[in-house]
Symmetry: D2
């Protein structure tokens, strides 16, 4: 069990897309821990309240990712388990950035308001099998899910589609509301510690998440109901295959005690997590 | 301040639709309390596990409503405030009914599982201005929102579109998950106590809800993102008009700390509530 | 076979909603012809280029309907067949009105452009069973479909849900593009001649249309793909039940030679017609 | 003006994805003509009625593309104009393949039915800027649009995002209905002749198409209304920038005489073309 450092400077050639066409920047083994320096989604280009996002940002060169990280032994049909151990602000002057695009600025009139610090990783995923998907889009590989449950204490499971899994992450959020409705959270550079593990022969269709309290399936699609359908259908499948429920019992139970998290309704695909408390999984 | 009884037998002519075409069954004044006997959404027709829903139920004669209740003084442009005081199970043998339609039955194989008792009113609303909307559909008038926050302690605000407001309610749920994914909650007959009040000259576009912790705007539409957009846009408007926020500040703050409840994703319109803790409204 | 006149003045009490709660203004027999004076969707209130729609129009009092027309012998489970015989402009100064709402006006800068005269009836339908649906919305009962194929030579079939069917019509369009994207066609008052017939025991889920060239099923819903799914599924059912196709053959054939008309993408439900040339129905 | 041959064997390394990560297989100059051998979407693996698609096909290795073709001088901000000159069936035994997935087979019971030969190219596009998008998906780069107007006589304009444009094509369809509802057209291998040209400095957001009769903008998204909105908004922009219309005039005119083609409602994004007859563009 080694611990690796992935500095801000040791990035892959293609920062803005998650796919199989890039050489890994780090190789690790199952069980290893990696301390990753992530940059904020604007790559630090918005330095103060006078910076106009429309001047300094250029689509699609947004949301830089750290990686890919190659996990030894990972092969198609496996699942990659990524535990978020810690997320700390990074930089000489730690701070979060938010802006309204294209209405940029505009917040100076607000009385000061204090938000809680509830950090999570907005973008994390493994390489798709043949595509390379920009870092603004969530899909079966994970990606820009903007799901606040991807926080310290959670383990996220991703489908492995290529050798080494090719894990990417970035887009730290200090806090974010359900749906991320203006499209921007409190974006910040982080030092994020993760531990990766491998579940051989567990073939996932979509990402899944687990913490002390619940298990969650994560769907990303448009329209939003399709994201919810994906999430609930996958959660039914999980309850059946791993916890011994009958299919329609699982469906029925979720109808009574299932919970939904709207992760984002602003990215090219919308993301929804459907969950059930672990309490109900014991029979 | 009077207290009224609305028994199961004193129902309006049209049980299955919410609209202006029916004589009121009760007239009350602002501040009055009404104890309403609601029937379950199947009108008690599903008596045991052997009953086939497809045999005893006939669309669209589903989800019977109690009302309309005429509120003296209510006129177009007002808001009706309905506080849910209590929801109790009703009947000689209180119990909840659930079924899968059209897969009816199928639950006998489940080990017994205990659900919490978290009762709420699934369908409640005022009359639309010109339409009469079946009791399975949610829209601007409220209706079949299936929103678990409509529970004791909450006050729901509805637009008044016709004289007397014409309030209807029914469809008690003993518990329900987010989204009500199989389309049926634990349906039960209730004795529900509500207190109605009037806010003169408060013109609402969509229903709103308030409790000790948060304020919430409620949108109903398809696709689901439209329900979420309605809810968030209305919540921004509420924060601006009643709490003194600038429009884009409200938008920004909701992006960081707003919460979303998926009420239902099964009815003709899907319903979403967007909320913010009252804590953030104090400036 | 009688011919009836339904003048502009002989309207029902509720002009702006299609439902069962109104006394018929005319009773006819199957086979009868009715000459209907329809008003334009703005009820003639937009008289010239200086009229501001936002000043003279009041939601939901829009799109006045002529009717209801009671058809003797029509009962739940039947289909009402309405043939459009002719549509003529009406009024001392026949003209069409169009406007952009809320951008009202704005067209004076246009060089003159001549549109073809391709008249059709934008809103036509039978009463729903229990609801009363405003005249701006299309659904299973027909209503505000804005489907350009509802023109002279076409026969439209509607489900009968209440005694007498209760037919309404209005909203003549002199011409309209697919989708009616700005929400307003060339609206005009018409003298429209229709002939009604009854198909006993033909239970329809959604409206259907037939002309010399094709048969068409008509779906109305959101999101738009649901309208298309409804239309194609209904057309498959029609090919199976009336033309002897196997279900999957019909599905396959429509995949190769089916046609789609986007009727409107602006009303509360979007409407799509799916059709197949009669040529392919002969085996 | 040279004519090039692109044989079936001279394919790029990645057949199933359209992106910038592949070496071109052919370099041409603006004005050149290329005769391309395309394979059918199943790569010829479905040989007869006994072949089970679910046995021989493996997602995502579907819909092989010919290319990329590098066009000299093409740079970001240009448009690539591709004229379809001819589409001929190819192979020792030219034939089209269709199947239902996952219901595979099932058509043997059909009486013989003759479909017209109306060939077009289902998938054609230029490389996205940073992503590599699988050949089953349509987006801003074109791709799997399944638009029947991409047929001989049409010129399609694509945004150029990378040096050389990197053009791909494949997925010939002998005929297809609007929406391609079963997901499979009459798929066939073709010899397709195209001529490529370059429009320097014409920055397109989405693909556009032109033929003798009309101009068309092409949107791909979910839900379907978003595809239609993209197409109409882009067509308005085109009418403004190239034909001198005022913005709201264009919007108004399209509302009266615009036409919509539903290309597909089965792929990861749905595709819609919005068009206007050239007749209306002359002022």
């Amino acid at each position: 069990m080694a611990t690796h450092q992935l500095t801000e400077k040791a990035q892959g050639k293609y920062h803005y897309t998650i796919g199989p066409y890039t050489e890994p920047v780090l190789k690790v083994r199952p069980g290893d821990t990696i301390v990753v320096e992530t940059r904020d989604a604007f790559e630090g280009k918005i330095k103060d309240e006078k910076t106009r996002p429309s001047k300094v940002l250029e689509v699609p060169f947004l949301n830089p990712q750290s990686g890919p990280i190659y996990v030894e032994g990972a092969a198609k049909g496996d699942a990659l388990a990524v535990r978020i151990d810690a997320i700390k602000p990074r930089g000489p002057q730690p701070r979060g950035t938010c802006c309204l695009i294209p209405y940029f600025g505009g917040l100076t009139g607000t009385d000061r308001i204090t938000f809680p610090y509830e950090p999570f990783i907005g973008t994390i995923g493994t390489s798709p099998q043949i595509d390379s998907i920009n870092s603004l889009t969530a899909a079966k590989h994970g990606g820009n899910m903007d799901l606040a449950d991807v926080c310290p204490g959670a383990t996220i499971y991703f489908p492995v589609k290529v050798d080494g899994a090719l894990l990417y992450l970035g887009d730290g959020h200090a806090v974010q509301g359900d749906g991320e409705v203006c499209g921007v959270a409190i974006e910040f550079a982080t030092t994020t510690t993760i531990t990766v593990n491998l579940v051989k022969g567990w073939e996932l269709a979509w990402p899944r998440l687990e913490n002390d309290k619940f298990i969650m399936s994560i769907g990303s699609a448009r329209p939003m109901e399709d994201a919810a359908r994906i999430a609930f259908a996958d959660l039914v499948n999980w309850m059946v295959s791993k916890f011994g429920f009958e299919k329609f019992d699982a469906y029925f139970i979720l109808s009574q005690v299932g919970k939904v998290r709207l992760a984002n309704m602003v990215d090219p695909n919308y993301t929804i997590g459907a969950s059930i408390l672990k309490h109900y999984l014991k029979k």
